[in-house]
Structure formats: structure tokens, C-alpha cells
Symmetry: C2
Subunit: 73 residues, 2 copies
DNA sequence: GTGTGACTCAGAGTCCGTA
DNA sequence: ATACGGACTCTGAGTCACA
């Protein structure tokens, strides 16, 4: 289980469903667009507090961001 | 939602249900008792990879460690 | 059997620019 | 609108001695 990639996939999918851009999410979560990009591409290893902040930023539960999706990489 | 305390409560509860001491969990997870203590007391802000590591070492899903419990602090 | 403070070092997260 | 890179600061990872 690659947690970075799992969170990245979940995040990118949910964000797109919400219709928000990385820039908009970054502003709401008080983070940078570059950092959001790093999360979605699986390069970053966010803390649980950051996870919660970004989940809240587009109105989903932080639990959804860590739910396994069968990809298993 | 205080994520540190939430994870701490979840971890402590699951650990006690299993009947193991912090020392025993630490040994299984190849970590120190002090580190486990820091998680349970909400002093640490673990990354998602650390979260996954301790969950796995303890035999529960990482999802269980972040599930809200109604405490809301 | 558990919690605290101090520690080293790697990485979280920033800002700049750029493509 | 997104991703990459360097240089930067601050905090998390993980430990030890001790309360």
C-alpha cells in the first residue's frame, strides 16, 4: 500500500468532482498550489492535520482521502 | 476536530481492546514505547505513512485510526 | 507501565520562478 | 490551470535518560 499515491488519487478524484481548481483548494486550505500539486502526484507525505485541512477545504471527510481503492500500489 | 487527539484516542482504545501494553506494541512495530506514548497522548502529528505503519504493525486498518468518534475536540 | 524534555536529522511546507 | 526545481524555515521521525 503506497499511502502517498493512494491519497493523491483520492484527492485528485474528489477535487475534480467538486469542480474546484488546485489554486482554489490551496487558498481555502491555506496551503500553496505547488504543495497541493505535490500531494496529488504522490510526491508529498502530508500529516494527519494537513489531511484534515485539505479534506475540509472542499467539503469531504478526511476518511475518504485514505480509503483504499483497490489499486494497491 | 483535533486530529492528533482523535488518532490518539482511537489508537489507545484499540490497543487496550487488544490487551497489549505500549511496550508490547512498540516491540511489534519496531518503535519505542515513548513514541507510542506520544501518539496516544496527542502530542505527535504523524504523517500518513507513519499512520499506516503503526496501524499495520498493530493489525488494524489505518482507516480505523482516523474514524471520528463523536468526541469532536 | 506511561509520560516528558531534549536531542539529531530528514522531510513537511513555503516562496521564487518557470514551463 | 498544473507541475517542476532550488533554496529556505520549521516541524515530524525516532531516540535516550529520566521522572
Amino acid at each position: 500500500m503506497n499511502m502517498r499515491k493512494l491519497v493523491g488519487r483520492n484527492f485528485a478524484r474528489l477535487r475534480k468532482e467538486s469542480g474546484l481548481s488546485q489554486e482554489q483548494v490551496a487558498e481555502r486550505a491555506d496551503l500553496t498550489q505547488q504543495y497541493i500539486s505535490g500531494i496529488e502526484t504522490g510526491k508529498r507525505n502530508p500529516t494527519i492535520e494537513t489531511l484534515y485541512a485539505i479534506a475540509k477545504a472542499f467539503g469531504v471527510s478526511h476518511v475518504e482521502l485514505v480509503l483504499p481503492d483497490g489499486h494497491d500500489d
